[in-house]
């Protein structure tokens, strides 16, 4: 029969000598178990909270996090039905010592403009501010108190996103404080629906933040929209 190699190529484990069959059978068992556990754990991770996942929640989390974390509730159970615009305004300290406050600047609208008619939108336009605000909302109480570490991280993240777009120097002065708010507008229902939608915007305002050097990302020296004077 010649080489075992050619033999095993068509017969698999059966074509191996006995001592190797033992090794291969053991490997088959271990690999099979790992694959089944992986599939089972991912199932329990994506399934709604249930009897089994409540009982073994810790084991599931230990297996899944951080590398196998996933969320496939894509536009589910309901798609987002509101446009959430994140806006900010700044207090600018002028060289003469006077302070002036800018109007609200709509950074989500800027994102939207960048996405429009763009076949390849960037994550910086599509995800950065949108998910950054989600992160902030998800890690804060309704009255804007941070929940632990994630809350603190999200605040600085939001400040850095805003400062990158605002620019540390603006209108001839230095940005001293910023305030962020979100404007939520419900999407008007479709024309064929007789549902009444209140499309008046609602606002969530975050208290003023003083800008520190840690809030300035690389490239925040100049305003993005206006050249430094």
């Amino acid at each position: 029969m010649g080489h075992g190699g050619a033999n095993a190529a068509s017969r698999g484990i059966a074509g191996l000598p006995f001592r190797f069959q033992v090794v291969a059978a053991l490997a088959l068992a271990v690999i099979g178990v790992i694959a089944c556990v992986q599939i089972g754990m991912v199932f329990l991770h994506v399934a709604p909270s249930n009897t089994v996942s409540k009982e073994y929640g810790k084991a599931v989390d230990d297996w899944i996090y951080p590398e196998f974390e996933q969320n496939w509730k894509l536009f589910a159970p309901n798609p987002l039905q509101q446009n959430i615009n994140v806006q900010a305004r700044a207090e600018i300290k002028m060289p003469g010592g006077t302070v002036r406050t800018t109007d609200w600047i709509d950074f989500s609208a800027q994102d939207g403009a960048a996405i429009q008619h763009n076949p390849l939108p960037s994550h910086t336009e599509q995800n950065e501010l949108r998910r950054g605000w989600d992160f902030f909302v998800g890690s804060h109480t309704d009255d804007n108190k941070p929940n632990g570490l994630r809350g603190e991280l999200s605040e600085q993240y939001l400040r850095r996103i805003v400062m990158l777009r605002l620019g540390a120097h603006r209108d001839g002065g230095t940005v001293d404080r910023i305030q962020v708010r979100s404007m939520t507008t419900s999407v008007k229902g479709p024309s064929w629906s007789d549902e009444k939608t209140d499309t008046r915007p609602s606002y969530r305002e975050v208290p003023w933040w003083t800008v520190t050097p840690a809030d300035l990302p690389g490239g925040a020296g100049d305003a993005r929209t206006e050249a430094k004077r």
Binding site: H3, G4, G5, A6, A8, A9, S10, R11, G12, I13, A14, G15, L16, A24, A27, I31, G32, A35, I39, Y65, P66, F68, Q70, W72, K73, F75, A76, P77, N78, P79, L80, Q81, N83, S108, A109, I115, Q116, H117, P119, L120, P121, S122, H123, T124, E128, F135, L149, R150, Q156, Y157, R160, I161, L164, V187, P190, S191, W192, S193, P217, G219
Partner: protein, 444 residues
Amino acid sequence: MSTYDHDGPTGRPAESPAARTANGRHPVAAADALPDASKASDRTPQAPRAAEAAAETRAARAVRLVSAAALGPYQSAVVRIGFSATWLFFLLRELPNRRELYGPDGPWSWDLGNRLVSGNHAFTALLWTDSTVWFEIVYALAIVSSALLMLGWRTRTMSVVFMIGVLSLQNRSVFMGDGGDNVIHLMAIYLVFTRCAQVWSLDARRAARGVRQDRVGPVLWAVCGLGLLVGTWRTSGSGVFGGGEWWLWVVFWGMWAVQGLWWVVGRFADGDSRALLDVLGNLVHNAAMVVIMAEVCLVYATAGWYKIQGSRWQDGTALFYPLKLDYFSPWPELSSLLGTSGVIVMLLTYGTVMVQVAFPFTLFNRRVKNVLLVAMMLEHAGIAVLLGLPFFSLAMIAADAVFLPTSFLRRVGAYAGRLRPGARLPEQRRERAEQAERPRTLVG
């Protein structure tokens, strides 16, 4: 030939002469093997004795099936090409924004990343140092490894480097990603365990050309070992090994050791040892392919079953709303046009849910599965344009591709082969690769 080779009922609609040989050398897609299994179990032999023998035969046949060959060579290749190409295009598209997305001085600063990761212990080489030079090196490595994985050059090694690139960038800035990044993240890990370069790769071409002195392999292996050593040394101080990510380091070092073992065994050991390694490689590959297929099913099942519970998916208007979101309407004129017809919106809304919920179950019927596969790929192509999510859609299409039928993939391969003047058909190349006693090289 063993007794169970051809006697058993196959009941598989012949896809091509090659598929019919069924000697494990031309394995059909693992997905395509599914209907087979279901049909086999339908046949209950009359006599109890015959049933016993048949059961034994089936078990033996199953073991042979998963150990004799790395199933779905075309499917694993197309998944490899799909995901590496998606990630490569993404990295190239974001080249101007790379520092803002993942750099040490981006909005999600190195310090913020460090504080988050010290809690969840996710793997990222970008937190080893806050140097911009290091960041640029990692980004460049991610681009190069994606390109080389796509081409199938030293595929196993590149798949590990590719995974390191994906995890490093994504875990560095988790809040920059979306569903597309998520699926790339998972598949980058699973792909490491597959033999995804059996076809459509430079590795397969090199193997087909026959034995040659391999100098690149050992050099690459030594470089990887050095890199791993530095990485391990850099990480060992941070307590990450205790944080649940130790298994990744087992994978890194294990893969490295196995590459060396292949080389040694290929050079010095007997045919039996090589056959054992081959069988082990097949077992791991086939398990990984099952996990990949199950993962895709879970994605669609989750997406579908949660939608059923939503009032907007029930009243048939769900699709209308994303079309009106500023972040997801790059072509507002097109979105508005689609949003004017209540009937079309409802058909698409219901169709989406039905397809997503039904898909996993259609795997038991080849024809229905293929119809749904086309529907899902078309829907993702639509999402790419309408919702402005090209990379998410590309990634999902690459994931769907694991279920494409072998005959179709071979036709595509043959067609692509003809586009190149003087090129041999992939099948011919593959057959030659099989005939040659495959040289086992380092990092091959």
